[in-house]
């Protein structure tokens, strides 16, 4: 039996957490995992804190317990901090945040102690450069897919995005997603 993979995605209402969750969930299904997840709907979608849980494996419940997520994907800095307790030792955090000032020192110490890898990039800036300021979710996914410890390869996620994007935004989505990958490659090279 393959071990369970737990992912927590977070950000603010309206940032596209649900779409990001959908992409990863579909990619997991295509890989042959059983998929279970939990989403935030309703009032919090009006700009409040939004958290999505995603689990691959033979699990019964939809929620990830604290200290047991391998991945934390955050579209906003403060939400990344707020959801830190979900990450397990040795996990990976990917955040839409300026790597110059993220994470703050005491968080950096904690991440080091728990051997948590942190990749951060201003996904917002990537999306904005391509004229789609509201698509930082796709830029962050692209960035996430570029690292060796990523859950899915870039081509896997690319295929999923191609499959589930509505036709009128498909090309644009892929462009932003690819731009995210480029940043990751640059960071790895640096």
């Amino acid at each position: 039996m393959r071990p369970t993979v737990n992912i927590v995605l977070c950000g603010l209402g309206g940032q596209g957490i649900l779409f990001m969750t959908k992409v990863l969930a579909q990619a997991g299904l295509d890989r042959g995992f059983n998929v279970m997840g939990a989403e935030t709907h309703g009032m919090a979608q009006r700009g409040g804190s939004v958290v999505s849980h995603l689990r691959f494996g033979d699990v019964a419940g939809s929620l990830v317990r604290t200290h047991s997520a391998q991945f934390l994907v955050a579209l906003e800095e403060n939400e990344a901090y707020r959801n830190l307790p979900f990450l397990m030792e040795g996990g990976t955090m990917v955040a839409n945040a300026d790597s110059g000032r993220f994470p703050v020192d005491n968080v950096r110490v904690y991440l080091g102690k728990k051997q948590i890898t942190c990749h951060s990039v201003s996904a917002e800036a990537i999306a904005q450069e391509l004229g789609a300021p509201l698509s930082s979710n796709l830029a962050l996914l692209g960035f996430f897919s570029g690292f060796d410890d990523a859950l899915f390869s870039h081509s896997e996620l690319r295929a999923t995005i191609t499959k589930i994007s509505p036709e009128r935004v498909r090309e644009k989505n892929l462009r932003i997603f690819d731009a995210g990958l480029e940043k990751a490659i640059k960071e790895k090279g640096a």
Partner: protein, 622 residues
Amino acid sequence: MKKEEILLGNGAIALGLLEAGCQVLTSYPGTPSSEILPEVIRLVKSEKLNTYTEWSTNEKVALDNAFAASVTGKRAACCMKQVGLNVAADSLMSAAYLGTVGGLVIISCDDPGPHSSQTEQDTRFMARLAKVPVLDPSNPEEARKMVGLAMDISEEFRIPVILRPAIRVCHARQNIAFDTLSSNFKKGIFEKDPMRWAATPRFRLILHGELNKKLKEIGKRFDTLTQYNFHNLEAGRKYPLGIIAGGVPYAVIRDILEEQKRNDLPVLKIGTPYPFPEGLTSEFMAVCDKALVIEETDTLMEYLLRDRNKVLGRLSGHVPLEGELVPQVIYRLLDRTLTELKLQPFEGEDDSEAMELVNSLQLPVRRPTLCPGCPHRAAFFAIRKSRPKAIFTSDIGCYTLGMNLGVVDTCLDMGASITMASGFYHAFEQDGVDQPIVATIGDSTFFHSGTSGLLNAVYNDSRFILVILDNLTTAMTGMQPTPSLGIKANGSEGKAISLERLVAGCGVDFIEVLDPYDIKKMMEVLKNAAEYINEPQGGIAVVIARHPCLIAYKAEAIPEKKKVTITEECAECNFCMDRFECPAIYHDQELGRTSINKQVCTNCGVCIQICPKKAIVEVAEA
């Protein structure tokens, strides 16, 4: 042909309804139930089925309609959120006595947390009160199967059956495989039987007796169920502690015990908490010294278990009395109980270090706010500015967020903006106090339960201003159409109902319709309205603030876009942020001044009207 899709729990329920041959589905939207009906419509369209669907004007109306379909022998269902079942309670209590012909399933979605509701109430208690069976699924796949079970039990025993999925079932996602669906063509017949369908109290006593018999039989059936009610006791073994669980907590417990490899802790899973499977439970209790009950949201099973010496749970302080039982809460309470009973505790780290770190960061709490460009914001600004001393009664919808703007003082239940306004009026009028009152209610909420309160207020000569915030949709729950649009749930044409005529029909003589984007105009109208309600021959003044929701109507919602900027005239008084709270206006820390976030700004231009220094101006097009 087998298909596999990642479905939302509500999608799995929709699938279960169609697999069970549901011919009529009615609903009023409410988180976390809102997606069930749209998901049914999606499947009806893609699989070319004949199921009738409707957004009813409220939950009672929805249940009455579904009940009638069941009386004709068709399979029917009705879905709503848990507080919606309060509205439908009158119908439910009586329907339990009358019984059904075709299967009738009521899906009432609970919201432990609460995430998007007024209360954490437990639908299972409503089922107990009405004396109807209730099923409690643990995940989407089980919810899908339970819909079929509910439909079968309902039809076999001629009783309405409730399915109670909690939010973590409704808004869970799971991969689900399914076959081609087909329509149920069963024809409806109404067999007249006034002693049943129009039973007077004398016959109700007989029907009550029948109901009790049905429950007893269903209880026996539930005691033998193994797919939904089961335990993992080993024959001949005794246990110091057993766990009795149902719904979402069962799924969480299963995962924790598997991860911790704890075969020493047996679990009794109850999928049918009422009628309670007594036999199965007695069997379980007999071999456990203590039984810890973990259920959402309240204490139904805990009350139904008779041996108080053995039972641990909320009443004994082992399980929190309020709030959602998320995995870390269940993990901690199980671990504490194990330690207390001197059993082996769980292995692994706790999350306290991370929690302390997060607390030390003092992160800002992100409260939800009205969207940028939201017409409600403009209306609220005008209301507060025009009637600063008023009591602001309000209602359920996006506009409850007007609380952030100081323009929502009360929010009780659907329609209470109007009934509380008339209540306040008479309470103060009795003392001779002239207290201004402004009520705000959304268009969908007004159609749901505004009219009866308005009729009452007009009839009893209450005096207040009622602002109907008409954004031409049911925004909070996901943009379902309202009766004023004349568009039905499946997108086909219905008959449009005029809000103005409806209000006039309630006996209101002062009705003004305006666009709240024009704040000056709205303030003028509110001033006239205030004068009108104070005239001896006056009455209630209704202002319909009509402007389309920006999410539902996107581009067309702002026909005249105005790019804005903030000039040097800005005094950094923060008035715009405190009183208008548009997400596009923020304090730029690097520049040290108030700025517009162009990515967020919708170019509605309303803020131009609100700055006391007139420092927000339209940018001339280059």
